[in-house]
Structure formats: C-alpha cells, structure tokens
Amino acid sequence: MKFEARWLAELLDAAPPAAELAARLTDCGLLVELREQGDGSEVWDVEVTTNRPDAMNHRGLAREAAVATGSRLRPLEFELAENGDEVASLAAVEIAAGTPCSRYVARVIRGVRVGPSPEWLQRRLSNCGVRPINSAVDATNYVLLELGQPLHAFDLGRLRGRRVVVRPAAKGERLTTLDGVARELDPSMMVIADETRAVALAGIMGGAETEIHAGTTEVLLESACFDALSVRRTARRLGMHTEASHRFERGADPEIAAVACDRAAHLIAELAGGELATGRIDVWPRPWQPRRIELSVAALAAFAGLEIPAARVEAILGGLGFAPARSGDTVRVAVPAFRVDVERVADLYEEVLRHVGYGAVPAALPVLPTAPGKRHPNWQLVDRARDAALAAGLAEVVTWSFIDPGADRLVASQPLCPGPAATLANPLATTQSVLRRSLLPGLLSAAQGNLNQGERSLALFEQGRVFAGGAAGPSEPERLGIVLRDDGGDAEARFRRLKGVVEHVGTKVGLPALHWRAGGNPWLDETAGAILETADGRAVGLAGLLAPEIAAHWDLGAGVAVAELALDTATAPPLPRFAALARFPPVVMDMTVEHGSELGYAGLEAATRELAGEHVEGLGFVTRYHLPDGSGRVRTTLRLVYRHAERSLTQDEVNAWHADLRRGLAERLGVGFA
C-alpha cells in the first residue's frame, strides 16, 4: 500500500529522517518495500499484512512509527463549524433488523458547489495512487487515506424520501454501480437503499444514480461499519475488489466512524463551501465495548526467551493505544477498537516483541532428547525408488499433477488405473483439469518436449503420486514412471534395456517377485509389451514399447519404451546375507537349444534350472538366433556354470551331467540341440 512519507512525518512529533523511519517500520513488521520520489515527497510502498487493517492508513502507520522511533503521534485536531439546520430534520437512517451493519453515521452538508480540489489535496491523493475526482469525493478519499474509514458521499437530493435504509437486497433487485456496471443482486447481499431502490452496495461501491455530480448541492455523508464476512462474500460473488471492501473485509474500527464522518464533513464544507447541518445521525444499536486482556511480564519473558522490563512493556502497549495498567507482574490492557486482530495474550506478546525487536531476542538452541530423527516409511519407499532409478543412469523430472482430460481418457484403459478420475472444480486451464491417474502422460509430454529440443536419447523417470476419486474417498498411490529412447536397437534390444532397468528398480525398491506376462495393450505395442504381476496375479506394473496410437497422441516416433510401477506393494528389501565364496574353479558350458517360439525364455530357464542339478551355480542367457527358414523356430544359447563347493570338477563328470540335462530338456520340452 502506498504512503506519502511527508504526510507521515507531519503526523509525528520529532519524526526521524525518512531512511530511519522506513527502517524502524520494517523492523516492527511493516515492511517498507519500496521508496521512490513522488510529487513533493517520497512515496513508500508498505506491505501491510491482512491482519492489520488499522495500519492501512496514515495515522495508523504513524502510530506504529511513533512507538518504533520513540516519537509521539500528534492528536487529530480540526474545528467543526456546524452552522446549518438540525440534521434530523434533513435526512433519516435506518438499519433493518438483522442486517450485518453495526453502526451507521451520517452528516448532511447543504449548498455545496462541487469543483476540483485544491492542488495540495490532489497531489496527496495522486501520490497515494488515488485519482482526484471532485472536492466532495476527494474529501472522502482523503479521510480514507488518513484514518482508514471508507466513506461514501450521496447526492441527498437524489435519495428518494431523503432517507437511507441498510437492508438485504431483494431477489433480482438491480443496481448500476459507480463503475457503470448493471448488477443483479440477491438477498445475501447488503445494500444501502432509499425509499424505493438500492442506491449502493454496502461497503463495496456506491450507485451511479446517486453519485456526486457537478450540479449536486446537498451531500449525505455515510460513515458506517459493515460486517467483514458479508462484505467479503458479496465482493467475491460479484468479482469486485475496492478500497472500501478491502478494508471492511479485514475488519472496521467502529469508533473511528464518527470521527471520520466529522473529519470529512469538515473538509467538504471547507473545500466545497455550504453549510454543515447541526449534529450527526448515529445508528449504533450496540455500542462497542473494549476487550480486556491480562499479561504476565514473567510469562512473556519465558515465552520470548528474553527479559523485558515491565516499564518497556507498558510503554509499547501504551503507545499502541492499549491503555495498559500495571500492578506487580500483571499488565491489564483494553484492546482499542482499531485493533481487530488482538484477541488473546499471544497477540499481546507479538505486539511487545515486534517493538522490542526480534533482533534483541538472544538465540538459544532448545535442549531436547538426543534421539535420532526417523524418516516416514513413505519417504523411505519413494527415495529407494528414486535412488534405484538414479543408479540406473536415469534423469529425474517433475511434471504436473494435473493433466489434460483427453490424455486422462487414454489412461482409463491402463491395467494400473487406480480408479475413477478426480477432477478439479476450478482448474487454471482445461489442459490441467484432471488429477493424473498415471505418470506416463506427463512423462510422454516431457519426452516430446525433449525430442523437439533435439535430444536424441531419453532416459527419464518421475517419482510421484497418482490420484483417484470416487465414492471411497480420494486415494493417492505412489508410482515410478520411466521413459527410455535410443537411436539404435531393435524392439527386443529396447525392451530388454527397459526390463533391465525395471528389474533393477524392482529389486532395490523391494517389490514382490514380478511375473512378466505379455500384454499391456492398448498402451503398449502388441508385440512388445508386458504386464507385471505379483504371484497372486495383481498387476503392479506395465513395461514395453509404446503402442503406435499412443505414441502418435504425443507425436512420438517408434521405439519409445515406457514403464510404470506401483510402489505400494513394496517392502524394504532384507539385509543382504553373505554367501561363502567358492574356492574351486568353475567349468563353463554353453548350450544352444532349438525350440518353437511358444516356449518362452522363462519356461526354458525354469526347466533348465530344475533339471540342472545341484552343481549348477549359475545359469544365464547368452543369445538367441531366429532361424531364417520361416519355421518360426529359434535357437537360444544358455550358459551354465558348474562348480563343486569342495573339490575341482573333471571335464568328464561335467560332460556327463550336461548330457543328462540335454536329454532331460528334450524329454520334457521336446526341444532339440544345435
């Protein structure tokens, strides 16, 4: 919010130089963000937090400045010349029962000649970012900047029945506000009305028909207290935000309403001439009572970690308007009407502490048990996955948790889809309106972006949550997604590279043993995709080359390998156990098996392992050759490592075992040998 530094200084006795004043304000919590030269004065941009409407005006800020710099706030002095008729004979005010308006003060000035304001006033308004309009309106804006009370000037001559009523709007009632917008109202909104129609949106904006204009001669000046919640709800529903609503939403000072009304009436009479009616209308059904709080100086010291002399506590609270009275350790205060934020003793601690200065509090580390910190199992899990992917050489990306509905519809066909989609009620854009049910759409968009930037090989992963809505309430399981792409290699090579990464991650994360079953269509290519299942048949992952239709959706070429793993079935892998190191030399034997493609490697391997006997220490895949004769048969070469724990093996005995193995495999699987 903008403040004129010269104006602030005028409100203080013995104000320090601007630089010091700005520094002290910053120290006590009113951050002077920007100081720049305005017209005839420095202009400051001060960050006033939402809980401090009292400091959103020059006198309020000066009050803080006085305490912060040890100077004094000058009293507000002006002479009110009431020289007209009794106000009660000129206008009437009513607050309809149950309307959230705690006070309505009004004054009447007659015989005004509205014109431009004097230069000093225009300059001051301009410096504070307010556009000068005419002397009557400018006077109300000036008082807003000075005292923080939003005011409104009506052309009394245009108020039918010469009266105002604060009441809920009627259903469908219409009002054209000062900004020229015709608005349709409803009974949740509070309006100021005359005898027949709404003339202003209470606490937000006046109406166009009753505004001050060049021909106005009679002014009714409104200074009221509207309920914060009511103003806030109405302003939000109508999409409005004004100087007035900004303040009322944060809480108005009921006591200042009368003072501000007098002050503005005085200014209007001075600037626009006319005579001020005697007395003011003041509808205040339940006058304000101050809240009283007690503070213990010792408890404050214990809370702060700093001894603060009682006299200093009193001086600070006194300067801020809390009228402290001390007896012994106890300081009793009455919270002033302008401090809507102060309700409890903790709030008083803050008042004292911020003026003592946070810098004055000595830093002391708390003494606590030396128990080591623990990481939540979920963090342990996801970081195991992250570490495994990093160890596999992948680069981590973080993509949006919300995705395009079109991409989400594709996800519905995934075997891992966690449930019905959760949709945002108020997305920033429709392309980001559905919570992701898979990490793959985000990763594929990332892949596309990378390829567009000329990257040729991709090795990406994301660890994060996916979301599902539905009747059972929201769920957000943890996932790991992977995208790999290289320039070289056939489908088998690409698939095996991906599988290597997935198997490595699965082991490191502690996923249960995974069964790779061909599938995953329509996401994965029919000829190069797999669903990963646990022993009990639950799908916990998918891995393979992207199906052409899905690749096309993200404008990706062929050969992109993707995987997604559900991490919630994982358990921390057990601590590795040492296995005795073999002392005798191995005998390595390769075996090339010729078989039909219906026999997968997994079946061949399982049978070989079972038939190989106890002295086969290792069994691995070497290569596979597809016979070019059109038979669809393949030759798979396996490597067996024979070893005896207690002696060297002879080639003859290994040859005999190996021959038994071949016979056994031929019998069981009907395979041949090359």
Binding site: E350, L368, A371, W379, G393, V398, A422, E455, P474
Partner: protein, 355 residues
C-alpha cells in the same frame, strides 16, 4: 669330453643369458637350451659322465654340479628380473602374451580425446535440495513426516486457524475437487495431522508437493515446500531463532546473516519473516536481492494457541514453533534458475546440469 667342455658350456650360457637381458621370452629360451628337462645342455653333460673313465669321473662330476648350481641360480635371478615382452607383429598392433582379449597398443593414444560418457543418474534440483534439508534436520533429531496431497478443509485451513472466509484464503487460492476435497495449499496440514495423532514432544519436518491456483514467473500452480514443527514444554521464541540460524547456516554458509522480521501467518503468533543476507552480493545490492541486501527465505513463528486447541494439545502447557519454506525457491536461488515453471517442464537438459 672333459672339464674344458663344461667351461665352454658355461661361457656360452653366460653370453646367451646376457643377450636375453630382461626379456622373459629370451630367458625362457636360455633355460630350455641349458637346463631343459629333455634336451638341455646340462642333461647332455650329465649323460656324458657315464662315458668317462673312472679316474676323471670325480672331478668332472664335481665341476658339473657346480655348473648346474650356477646355471640354476642365475636363471632364477634372470627370471625374476625379466618382464613380459610385447612382440610387434605388424606395425601398429602388438600382442601382450598372457592377456586376453588382445590389447592394441603401439600407436600413441591421443590423451586429449574425451572420456567415454558414464551413465549418470541426475536427481531433480528440488529433490536435491529437499534431501539436503531433511538431512540437516534429521541430524538435529527431527522426524521426516508425510501426508496426503488431496486434503480436507479442516486440516488445510480450519485447524490452522484459517476459518471460512478468512482473508488469508485469498493469498492461498485453492484448487478444489468436485467432491469438496482440495489440493493442499501448503505442507502445514501434516502438522495438524501429526499433532492430532500424538502428544508432544513433537519434532518434525514435512516436505512435499503443494498447489495454489496461480501461475506466472514466480508462481506455479504446483510447487514444493518443507515445513518444520517443534512442540514441547518451555519452547521460546529464542529457540525458534537459534534453530533457524543453525539451519540456514548449515544450508547456505556460516557467514550468512539471518534476520527475523515481524510478519503475519494465521497459524503462528507471533510470526516472523526470515531473511538471509544476500549470498550473491555480500549485501552490496544486486538483482537477486533487488538491491536490498536481503533475501526473504522462509516464514515462521510460534504456534498459535488456537492451532493447539484445534488439534487437542494443551496450549497452557506446551508452546512450539513452526516454519516453512519453498524448496523450489531455494533450488532457484542456489542454482540461479530464473523461471519456477521451468522446473516442471520435464526437460532433461535442466536435470542433467545437476548430475
């Protein structure tokens, strides 16, 4: 055959061994020629013994023995000193015997050629920063907690002293789901959940993804925070100050100055904005600190008694402090990343810079 023949052999042996030098191959050849089991000179000389007249046998035998010992000991010496010889087969390549596979050497390697790339994983900068901060607090005995990203109004707002229609809800414009849940706007709801589930002492940090309905250079609808909470008897504002100083010194440098300014958060009272002295310009004023010499780094304060009341902790007995900071902001600051949204574009060129 006589001892003269022995001397002749000895001389030949010495000469040939000398010629073999330190070549393992050469030494081996000499060994075969002189001490070989099948056809070595020594074997030949020993066979000649039988043919000698008896009177010469004694002298010859002794001399032969001496020669044998000499040859064997010198062979052993030479063998020890020998190195494997690399035989040049044809220009540019050579075989080192006993090594498989064959290593091609001979042509000088351009040692300025680049090394082959290693498959390095690269962690996202936000997570690098998260783990560093977790580590600092784990060392101070804080637990690292987790909680849901889809939250309810109670934990995200009401329990934290942000009732409906509170103006602070404007600052945290919220994404709502169709079913009334919301995306958490900060990690603080996990504080509320932890305090609801256990009694003090509580010492936690909570990292995680958060969401606000906002998007520009400095705001992203999705970002990351880490939140800290300590609740116990007798916790003071001075404890908060020291903890933040210790943390920020550890994260940045012991040389950074830490400044607490009064601020406002609905869930803390008093509240403090925390600045560090600019790490880029030594407080002379630069673009990063907008010339002020200070960088706003986190928000903090003493837990508002209303929050304790809402979650069932005795506000008369316990006090505590809380703080929170943006992980993305720290990453941007530390690594000089200008646009927050760039962190979530999935560009591997960004991540790879931090491998």
């Amino acid at each position: 055959m006589s001892t003269a023949r022995l001397e002749e052999v000895r001389r030949a042996f010495v000469a040939e061994l000398e010629q073999a030098g330190t070549s393992a191959d050469g030494v081996e050849k000499v060994r075969v020629k002189f001490a070989g089991q099948r056809s070595g000179k020594l074997k030949e000389l020993a066979e000649a013994l039988r043919a000698l007249p008896n009177d010469q046998k004694r002298d010859y035998g002794r001399a032969l023995n001496e020669l044998k010992q000499e040859i064997e000991s010198r062979l052993a010496e030479a063998k020890q000193a020998a190195v494997t010889e690399i035989r040049v087969k044809d220009p540019g390549t050579a075989n080192a015997k006993g090594h498989a596979p064959t290593v091609a050497v001979g042509r000088p390697v351009d040692v300025t050629l680049p090394g082959l790339p290693v498959a390095r994983g690269a962690e996202h900068p936000v997570h690098i920063v998260r783990r560093r901060i977790e580590e600092i607090f784990l060392r101070m005995g804080y637990d690292v907690e987790a909680g849901p990203e889809v939250e309810d109004d109670w934990h995200n707002f009401e329990a934290l002293n942000i009732p409906p229609d509170h103006p602070a809800r404007d600052d945290q414009d919220t994404f709502y789901l169709a079913d009334g849940h919301l995306l958490r706007t900060h990690t603080s709801p996990v504080q509320a959940r932890v305090m609801e589930s256990r009694q003090p002492p509580i010492r936690i940090v909570v990292p995680g993804r958060v969401f606000r309905r906002d998007s520009d250079l400095r705001h992203s609808p999705m970002f990351h925070q880490i939140e800290g909470l300590l609740v116990d008897e007798g916790i003071t504002f001075g404890h908060l100050k020291a903890t933040l100083e210790a943390f920020l010194h550890e994260l940045f440098s012991d040389r950074v100055a830490v400044r607490l300014r009064p601020g406002y958060f609905p869930f803390t009272e008093p509240s403090a904005e925390v600045d560090i002295s600019c790490i880029f310009c030594a407080q002379k004023g630069c673009g990063v600190c907008s010339g002020s010499g200070w960088i706003e780094i986190l928000g903090s304060g003493m837990v508002d008694p209303r929050v304790f009341e809402a979650v069932g902790i005795d506000a008369g007995r316990y006090t505590g402090f809380a703080f929170g900071l943006g992980l993305d902001r720290v990453a941007m600051l530390v690594y000089g990343i200008p646009d927050l949204r760039q962190l979530f574009a999935g560009d591997q060129r960004l991540t790879r810079q931090f491998a």
